[in-house]
Symmetry: C2
Subunit: 217 residues, 2 copies
């Protein structure tokens, strides 16, 4: 039930490899990717389609993104240009309003200015290790499933000191049940190593992580 | 790494069977359950512990719940008394503010007045079938995993007409990536049958469902 034939996907992979500066050496691309963004809610107003990353939607003549449809692949949206600020994981489906893609955060930013494909996302083959302390030391746990509550699976507190993504991509959340700040973790960024919470994302202020799941492509 | 010995769990099951009116014939209780609620943010103010359902927190002398900790089991919180209104799935962990348990909704209610254990929750043994149309007809798909995007797994649009929970419990969401309105679906409520979207929950206004996952106990 996947879209596109093998050869079409293969061409798309070649295109992505050439056009996606975030992912120059992705060993296992899973294309194709397609996202359609709108400057008004409910898929109204100005409309643009993308098959690769966008560093600043304002440079494309769009002031902000107020609704979007992911048609192929998994993406990450960012609050600011150049892939900075709050992160929003975007999987296939319809997002008619800001609330549909922002998640639950303490401050309600209503901006998504840049976005890019998550090239290593693989729902079937994602594997990571979480560690109690920074620099991959202390207690550890290996994960290859989705965990809406790390504490329910036996993790000892509400923090993760560091992590190593061996394959695929995960999204980590501040609160249980996939709520709060989101941190996208990929095997092909930082060599898959996130040595302290400051490397989780430019918006990370604490090592608090209470749920983790694979990203679906 | 589970808390409590077998015999302690067993006693708790007996207690739950006697004290939980929401679940008189649960065939496979998974206790114990424990939730601590506070009337101020960050686990401050008045504090109360519960091991069974609470139909109206105001009758316990608490005006509202502004933070909570789930210590054992999976729970569902409700906007209104008597288990009505918006639903919030609550798995083990710390929820320091309203945003931590509400999820992303278009209207920001800040009320949680009743709650109860999800007795059938089982991360390992949950199985359900979703159907295209009301009354379990049309295209169907059997699920026993977590799906942050139904469309990425091959489902044909952003709606689910009806569903049947064969075992365990699931939470369905309006938007991809576990966002938007939440609907808790249990094998031991309605005989596990949800024949149209009006049975999804008292707050359901459309059959729009774009992500579904098991509930973790």
């Amino acid at each position: 039930m996947m879209t596109g034939s093998f050869s079409a996907e293969h061409r798309q992979k070649d295109i992505m490899a050439l056009t996606n500066p975030m992912n120059p050496v992705n060993p296992m691309p899973m294309g194709p990717w397609k996202i359609t963004v709108y400057d008004q809610e409910y898929f109204q107003g100005k409309r643009m389609e993308f098959t690769a990353c966008c560093q600043n939607i304002m440079e494309c003549g769009m002031e902000n993104i107020r609704s979007l449809k992911v048609e192929c692949g998994a993406w990450v949206g960012y609050e600011h240009s150049s892939f900075c600020g709050q992160q929003f994981v975007l999987e296939k489906g319809d997002y008619p309003r800001f609330e549909a893609y922002s998640g639950s955060n303490s401050y309600r930013i209503e901006r998504m200015i840049s976005f890019r494909p998550i090239c290593s996302a693989s729902h079937k083959e994602s594997r990571m290790t979480i560690y109690e302390k920074e620099n991959m030391i202390g207690r550890q746990f290996e994960m290859c499933d989705d965990y809406p509550s790390l504490q329910a699976m036996g993790w000892f507190n509400n923090e993760v000191g560091s992590m190593h993504i061996q394959s695929g991509a995960f999204v980590c959340y501040q609160f249980p049940g996939y709520r709060g700040h989101q941190y996208i973790m990929e095997c092909d960024c930082h060599g898959g190593e996130y040595k302290c919470y400051r490397e989780f994302g430019s918006h990370a202020q604490t090592p608090q992580i209470q749920s983790i799941r694979r990203i679906q492509h």
